[in-house]
């Protein structure tokens, strides 16, 4: 099985420095474990051992001016990274479509959304459309499917729920952060890994009508009473959710305590019966 993984130029959330996007590193692990399973190895061993992997089976692709810290993906279990050289403002889609179209990959993995660019998570969809591949979002586990040429995957849904899908390959799959953590970084593996630079397809992006400014966190809308409610009600609604100091009951009887707790849990909606 040939697997391609897309890498985007991410940025660290706090430092703002260029960094790989964690979910794309998680994709490497998913791919390695899938290959390990297919090869009949013990999955854990195949995942843990960074040295044994036929090069070219898992290839990383990045379209951008510079691989930068994406080289570190080679230390997280990727054996080969192809950088498609394009300008910083260029659209990576044509380059990736051309590179992925040239080789036939059974599976293309991508992160859920970038971190540091547009962050809209649109590229995998556009790429899937360009390559004519079906796309499935938010995978957190991959396994070989029941028939050859199929893949069984678990899709992460909110609050720990999952959806088990069986999918015909080839396909493009985006990875969800609930997937297993990336393999630890190995400096020497990064040193050994192959980084290949190719010319990409220059594709200047059309200037959008978007105005950009420094981000400012907006207050989260809190559940509040309707427009017509009185000031006291709205004040109560605003302060109750904001302050942590809530109700205090000192030495109630166990029954009273139980009643209060259950009423509170029902009110906040975690207890449904």
């Amino acid at each position: 099985m040939k697997i391609a993984i897309l890498f985007s130029a991410g940025r660290h959330a706090a430092s703002g420095r260029p960094a790989p996007v964690p979910v794309e590193l998680q994709a490497i692990r998913l791919a390695r474990e899938l290959i390990g399973q297919a090869a009949g190895d013990a999955a854990g061993d195949a995942a843990g051992d960074l040295s044994g992997d036929a090069p070219g089976v898992i290839t990383g692709f990045h379209a951008g001016p510079d691989a930068g810290p994406l080289k570190d993906a080679l230390g997280h279990g990727l054996s080969r990274l192809v950088q498609l050289s394009i300008g910083a403002q260029d659209d990576p889609l044509p380059s990736l479509a051309a590179a992925l179209g040239a080789e036939r990959f059974d599976l293309v993995l991508a992160g859920r959304s970038g971190q540091g660019g547009e962050d809209a998570g649109l590229l995998p969809y556009a790429l899937a459309r360009a390559l004519g591949l079906p796309i499935v979002a938010d995978a957190c586990a991959l396994a070989a499917g029941p028939q050859p040429g199929t893949l069984s995957l678990e899709q992460a849904l909110p609050r720990g729920a999952r959806r088990r899908l069986i999918l015909r390959l080839p396909a493009l799959i985006t990875v969800h952060p609930a997937a297993p953590a990336p393999l630890p970084f190995a400096f020497a593996a990064m040193r050994r890994g192959m980084l290949e630079t190719r010319e990409g397809v220059p594709a200047p992006r059309a200037a959008g009508e978007v105005e950009e400014r420094a981000y400012r966190a907006r207050p989260k809308l809190i559940a509040k009473s309707a427009a017509g409610a009185s000031a006291t009600e709205r004040l109560k609604a605003a302060t109750e959710a904001a302050s942590s100091g809530g109700r205090l009951l000192v030495d109630p009887s166990p029954e009273d305590a139980a009643r209060e707790i259950l009423a509170h849990l029902r009110q906040i909606g975690v207890l449904r019966h």
């Binding site: 962050d119 978007v210 400014r213 209060e260 707790i261 019966h273």
Partner: protein, 409 residues
């Protein structure tokens, strides 16, 4: 409100005669240039405090009251039907001849709207009311709560099982066939996926994960939340959770519309099976509701029974895990798991700083502890100073008693 704000510095700069060592200004010559500059320059709009105040005015109260947080009311006053302002009598808002449509694709699992769905409909309401448009909900299973949520028109999408590819194709057809000015989706797991599929199908730009929305401007975070993008609302929008208020006014009519949907070939997904989260086995970092035991809990059989009865995920303090009473994976705190749960219920946990770090992101905390001065009591939204050992059986009794009462109506 729509006048451009003057920029005296720029105007002055435009008057300046270039190439002279001393600053010299020629007021006559530059007038043409300034007018051109002002019309072309994307200067900031001038604020209209009076207009804002007018919008924040809460109608129907004898005393003058302002509600500045009420974003729904930010719609231009003229667009709101005058009848709705004066009297609260009309129980149903009817938009018979909509100027355009604002489509909403709620997740609506099992036909029931989620809070996020309601917020998206609220946002769609805002965009529709700005120009006399109507809100069209595109749902797999039309439910009853659509009207109250503020939906004018409803169109059913016949999609069997989980097939986002087919759903996107149907939506694409609807977007092509009807006069839809905006299409809004929730930035939830399925909504986000669908919106991106749609964007790829139509080739349009998607404004993903909008964090604030008015009829004039919409914003989202980009570059790892370092910058904010802002523009007039485009056609495809997904809305982040808690970014917009749900519709709070009178219900709309939610009448079905007829549209000839195309038939589709089967997609690549061969089978799909929903696996509900098992609170007992879900990882602590993904759990929604965590019940945690600390030093004040001695009877772990009762604790496990309580966790099962509450349908929660079990957690524990470090002491309990060290003592081997609970597995290490259940440890909550800086050295264990940092929770993302909605509710944390701490039984007999004093709340060491490292432990509190682990529950910092929890929205609701309920604590039972014998020590009134415990940090956990201070942190909790509902704090009960009592012996957790005694409260646990009472809780189990109350829960099973409630279940039994429900079972025999």
């Amino acid at each position: 409100m729509s006048r451009l704000r003057r920029d005296p510095r720029m105007e002055r700069a435009a008057h300046r005669i270039a190439g002279t060592p001393r600053p010299r200004f020629d007021l006559a010559a530059a007038s043409a240039a300034t007018s051109a500059a002002t019309s072309a320059a994307p200067g900031r709009l001038r604020r209209d405090p009076r207009g804002e105040e007018r919008l924040a005015l809460v109608p129907g109260t004898p005393r003058r009251r302002l509600d500045r947080t009420q974003r729904v009311a930010l719609a231009p006053a003229g667009a709101v039907p005058a009848a709705a302002m004066a009297e609260t009598a009309p129980r149903l808002v009817v938009i018979a001849e909509p100027a355009y449509l604002v489509a909403v694709v709620p997740d609506a699992p099992g036909g029931r709207l989620t809070p996020h769905d309601r917020q998206v409909i609220g946002a769609a309401r805002l965009l529709a009311d700005a120009g006399g448009g109507a809100v069209l909900a595109l749902v797999e299973m039309p439910g009853e709560d659509l009207a109250a949520a503020g939906v004018d028109r409803v169109l059913g999408l016949p999609v069997a099982g989980y097939d986002p590819e087919a759903k996107a194709a149907l939506l694409h057809a609807v977007l092509d066939g009807l006069d839809i000015r905006h299409a809004l989706l929730p930035e939830s797991a399925d909504g986000a996926d669908l919106a991106r599929r749609l964007a790829a199908l139509t080739g349009e730009a998607l404004f993903a994960g909008a964090e604030s929305l008015t009829a004039k401007a919409i914003t989202r975070a980009a570059q790892g939340r370092r910058i904010e993008q802002r523009r007039a609302p485009p056609r495809l929008i997904t809305l982040a959770a808690d970014a917009s208020a749900p519709h709070g006014g009178a219900p709309h009519e939610a009448i079905p519309v007829v549209f000839a949907l195309p038939t589709l070939a089967p997609g690549a997904i061969l089978s799909a099976e929903f696996v509900p989260a098992d609170p007992a086995s879900v990882g602590l970092d993904e759990a929604d509701f965590v019940v945690s035991a600390g030093n004040g809990v001695h009877d772990f059989t009762a604790f496990r029974a309580l966790v099962a009865a509450l349908n929660a995920t079990p957690g524990a303090s470090r002491m309990v895990c060290d003592a081997g009473l609970m597995p290490r994976a259940a440890q909550v705190g800086a050295s264990g798991t940092v929770l993302d749960a909605r509710c944390y219920f701490a039984l007999g946990i004093a709340g060491a700083p490292q432990h509190l770090q682990g529950v910092a992101r929890c929205e609701h905390v309920v604590a039972v502890n014998t020590d009134l001065h415990a940090a956990m009591i201070e942190r909790a939204g509902l704090a009960i100073v009592a012996d957790a050992q005694k409260v646990m059986p009472a809780l189990i009794d109350a829960l099973t008693g409630a279940g039994a009462a429900e079972a025999q109506p």
